[in-house]
């Protein structure tokens, strides 16, 4: 745009009637977006005032500067003139640049069917669409679980392909690198559990049972649940974001066209890694949780270190360990499934990656809690 920033003259609009059927529109001053632009309707008022007017012409001698502001005015004018009126808009008086741009704007006619109207959808329609979408997503989940199972079977028969280095890298990321946060959370959970128990048990003089409470609570359920939730936020979200971004960048398509099954290549190593690492992390969380309880036991309840240790050993059975480790492995699979499923089925935009990540975390946490409930009930029935 010619830079005539010297002064903001404002845009001027005046009218003349050189002959009975012609309206001369005089444009003066600056016609820029930054100045206040007159509305095209003003011209039409003059057109409608003189019933015989059939032509609009322009005089742009006093025009000092213009940009898109003038263009949208002229386009609007053209629209108004062709709506139920028989008025010709003659562009001869306009600047050559303006004429060319207007020509360019109308060069490619609007493609039929391109424009979308924002239709109002009724409540029932929306409910139906939502129900169908929910059903589809259930089907997709089942399909994904099926594909993952098939891939796992192929792995067992030695047919699945993925890069071992990827597998070890993922193991490191979701195993060793999670230790600090798992330590912190588990110690605190053990601490909280001991603290709550201590207040009640002290009334009966049964402080020593804090060791059993913390021991069984952590080993059987809480260590696995807390580790699962940490991994959902840490690793499940990362899986969804990674795979989602790969989907956006067509990297997953590139794998498919190379004949590499993305489920085997991307999902399987992630699932295996979490499946193997989760029980280990959970075992570590057991230890940290008991340590947290120990801190409270020794510092607040006047228990002796050995006393606490022996009581813990006495009350925690092998079965508790097994239930805890089994749950952790299940949670690992659930977190990996949720993260990878959302990532692989992600849409192709930045916000879709965000949605995939969110729903990966939400699904993981919900399924962890549901699975824990199921495991607890089953164990109860089986007397484990």
């Amino acid at each position: 745009m010619p830079a005539t920033e010297s002064m903001k003259a404002g845009s001027g609009l005046s009218f003349e009637l050189p002959s009975e059927d012609t309206l001369l529109v005089r444009l003066t001053g600056e016609w820029k977006l930054s100045s206040r632009l007159p509305a095209a309707d003003e011209v039409m008022k003059h057109v409608d005032a003189g019933p015989k007017i059939g032509r609009i012409t322009f005089d742009t001698e006093g025009l000092q500067g213009w940009d898109s502001g003038l263009l949208i005015f002229l386009i609007r004018l053209q629209e108004l003139a062709s709506q139920g009126r028989t008025v010709m808009v003659e562009q001869d008086g306009l600047l050559p640049g303006v004429k060319r741009i207007l020509g360019l704007a109308s060069a490619v006619p609007e493609r039929k069917g391109a424009r979308r109207e924002a239709a109002r959808i009724s409540f029932l329609d929306r409910l139906g669409v939502y129900a169908i979408a929910s059903w589809k997503s259930i089907l997709q989940t089942i399909e994904f679980i099926g594909e993952a199972t098939v891939a796992f079977m192929r792995l067992l028969t030695g047919k699945a392909r993925f890069r071992p280095s990827d597998f070890f890298l993922i193991m490191q990321e979701c195993g060793a690198q999670a230790l600090p946060i798992v330590s912190l959370i588990s110690v605190l959970v053990g601490l909280i559990l001991a603290f709550i128990g201590a207040i009640q048990l002290k009334i009966f003089g049964a402080q020593i049972y804090v060791a059993s409470l913390v021991g069984i609570g952590m080993v059987r359920a809480l260590a696995a649940i807390m580790t699962g939730i940490i991994m959902a936020g840490r690793t499940g979200a990362a899986f969804a974001a990674q795979l989602g971004t790969m989907q956006v960048n067509e990297e997953i398509d590139a794998l498919k066209t190379l004949g590499i099954n993305p489920i085997e290549f991307l999902v399987l190593p992630r699932m295996l890694a979490l499946f193997l690492m989760m029980p280990l992390l959970s075992l570590y969380a057991d230890l940290m949780g008991v340590a947290g309880g120990l801190i409270i036991g020794v510092s607040m309840l006047d228990l002796n270190f050995m006393e606490y240790f022996i009581k813990t050993k006495e009350s925690v059975t092998m079965n508790d360990f097994m239930v805890g480790l089994f749950s952790a492995a299940v949670f690992g699979v659930l977190v990996a499934l949720a993260g990878c499923k959302q990532g692989i089925q992600c849409g192709r935009s930045a916000s879709a990656v965000g949605e995939a990540t969110t729903s990966a975390v939400v699904t993981s946490i919900v399924s962890i809690v549901v699975a824990m409930a199921l495991i607890t009930v089953v164990c109860n029935v089986l007397n484990i």
Partner: protein, 255 residues
Amino acid sequence: MADKKPHIIVQDLTMAYGDFLIQRDLTFTINRGDIFIVMGGSGCGKSTLLRHLVGLQSPAKGKVLYGDVSFWDAEPEERETIMRSFGILYQSGALWSSLTIGENISLPLQQYTNLSPGQIRQIAALKLSLVGLSGFEEFYPSEISGGMKKRAGLARAMALDPEILFFDEPSAGLDPISAHLLDELILELRESLGATVVIVTHELASIFAIGNNSVFLDPETKTMIAQGDPKSLLAESKDPKVINFLTRGAGAKPQ
């Protein structure tokens, strides 16, 4: 085109990523209304030069002047004012994927002008019609083709009526006819809006069709080895590298 006022002056510019030198001692001037081509083989730093010009990356040495203001020595507010006069078309469009095409074009207008929503809609429609995409306001970038994305990106670049338009490989990924139409469009926009255009490309057809000034970057010596009108470069240059590039490796000047 009569006024040959300098618009962008690059003085002694050296670009580097850490210790890794990309290009050194670049000195050239882009005049107002020029269609300036940055050319050179792949990996010679063309896009990096563009990033320096538009203020995404600071030079290791040297200056980039807009008018008489040195961009990298200016205050942040002044830089922002300069940057607002840019329209940039990125290599793959770089449309914001969570916004519709219409919203993509409206965003800069909402940020920097006091226009009413109705006016913004009209301008978005105008810009889309200029690039031949009338009526595509409600589409998301993932729903349109690569060439359309590029044109929508151009519409967004033009949203604020920029004084300088930067293009990073505008015709890459377009079919020859679309590429030709885009060239025409660039010429037309330059003619009617009087904007300065800077294009990074190695598309020979475009270079000769629309460029009237250029700089040639050499990846081996890591500096510029030619500048001027591409057509006269082809006719007059003595440098075999330049001739080779401009003749697609044929080495000889076409008769």
